[in-house]
């Protein structure tokens, strides 16, 4: 707990430098000026910066959101606030994409771009369809810059349960959690520790292959992970999960394969392939509890096949990222209760 607090303090202190290093360069000049005028404690709390065309510039802080006057003061009154102009919007889009919209077609299709530092910029506007599927977004009128804070150490309390204390082997693990309960943060930290090694429990690092379809875990920018995912991790960024797993198995010789949000038919086949190759699997799925996930055919199949050995259930009963339960799927007994 003490360790956690110290880490949080450290990340807070560097928040201003994170913003000036990663966020300010992608903002148009005028908004950049406004943000540099802001008091340090406000900058520290910024979680999102929202740009909507012809609407006030909004900053989402830890507790509430706030607007900024054209002189760089915080305000709650829309009439006094700085309004994002069309020009600001057009510039912001160019800067976010490094003046290369064409290089981010796939990302725009998915609705967000990852920028340097692993921060995500959500995009809204008019969707252009091609045979019923989103081809691109044009007339972009909304940007949401979400500042990513790296929280390390979240995996500390689950690692003893997913690594065998005697053989030091990693168990096949599935993490389930409702949205926004810290699933991605947890899997990232598990990957980091598995890959770099966990001296506290005598686990030596092993090769991890990470298929990061939505660039969420490693937060890649130009293919280079912006988040710490360990020293023995190979990241396949933006690659469809099933295909990516196969590619990693064939080419990179991983000991552990990690991916998030399984749920498609082909994912199950790829998992079985990994199992046959003797590779350990670490993955996540949406869902509040076991009953909920077995209602989905693919996940039920996976559970019936008894692929996984450990099930971690996340929730928010005691704040985001609460570990509600860790189940040993071999004998269906809880390990923490």
């Amino acid at each position: 707990m003490v360790g956690n607090m110290v880490k949080n303090k450290c990340s807070k202190e560097t928040m201003v430098s994170i913003i000036s290093r990663d966020i300010l360069p992608v903002l148009p000049g005028k908004i950049r000026e406004l943000l540099t005028e802001l008091p340090g404690e406000a900058l520290d709390q910024i979680e999102e910066i929202r740009l909507r065309q012809k609407k006030p510039l909004l900053l989402a802080l830890t507790r509430e959101d706030t607007m900024v006057t054209p002189l760089g003061q915080l305000t709650g009154v829309p009439e006094f606030s700085y309004v994002v102009s069309e020009n600001d919007m057009a510039r912001a889009i160019q800067l976010v994409s490094g003046c290369s919209i064409y290089a981010f077609e796939e990302e725009i299709k998915n609705g967000f771009i990852t920028i340097r530092g692993g921060h995500r910029v959500g995009i809204s506007g008019k969707a252009v369809l091609d045979r019923g599927r989103v081809k691109t977004i044009k007339n972009i009128t909304g940007l949401n810059i979400r500042i990513a804070r790296e929280v390390t150490g979240t995996a500390d309390r689950v690692l003893p349960y997913i690594i065998d204390p005697v053989s030091k082997e990693f168990h096949h693990t599935l993490i389930i959690s409702p949205p926004r309960c810290g699933k991605t943060t947890l899997i990232r930290d598990i990957i980091r520790q598995l890959s770099s090694g966990v001296p506290a429990i005598g686990f030596r690092g092993c090769t991890v292959g990470l298929v990061d379809e939505r660039s969420e875990i490693a937060g890649c920018f130009n293919g280079e992970p912006q988040k710490d995912v360990g020293i023995r991790t190979d990241v396949l960024d933006g690659c469809p999960k099933a295909e990516g797993m196969m590619m990693l198995i064939r080419a990179m010789g991983p000991q552990i394969i990690a991916t998030d949000e399984i749920g498609k038919q082909e994912d199950a086949a790829a998992l079985e392939e990994a199992l046959n190759a003797g590779i350990k699997v670490l993955t996540t799925a949406h869902g509040a509890d076991r009953e909920e996930i077995v209602q989905r055919p693919v996940l039920r199949y996976i559970m019936e096949q008894r692929i996984f050995e450990r099930l971690i259930i996340l929730g928010r009963s005691r704040g985001i990222g609460t570990v509600e339960d860790i189940v040993n799927l071999r004998d269906n007994k809880s390990l923490v209760r």
Binding site: C99, Y102, A103, E105
Partner: protein, 172 residues
Amino acid sequence: MFKLIGVCLTLTACGYIGLTWARIYEKRPQQLTALEGALQLLETEIIYTATPLQEAMKHVSQRCDPDISELFRNMAAELEKTEGATAGEAWERAADDFYSGTALNQRDLHILKRFGASLGVSDREDQAKHLEMTRSQLRLASTQAETLSRKNSTIFKYMGFLSGLFLVLVLY
């Protein structure tokens, strides 16, 4: 004796001026063709490998005709500054800096600048169209410049020398 040296100097000076003018006429079609080739390289970077603009510019500057590589080097440098300029503005500045050292004329510069306005702002399909259009404009300008060069470069070469000769006769 001094007169003879004077005659020689006048002739060389005027001849040299004529040759320089002629060389500009000869250089322009070459540089336009080189630009067209460089845009072809840029097209590969953008359409097939979807390389981000700054890197794409660097690659092109390394591989294109050294005569015009400055434009792409300038552009990469402009994009590296994180001042919040759009690709269009950066390209405009890069083109202005590049222009003075070349044989290009205002019309050519205008073609380049118009291209800059669309650079990087749309998807690959659209970028391909703009690149193709600019390349065909450059190709046309290059053919015209070629004809002009064939006509004028010989004239300027002779005219420099002949006007020197004329000056000598008048002053003698």
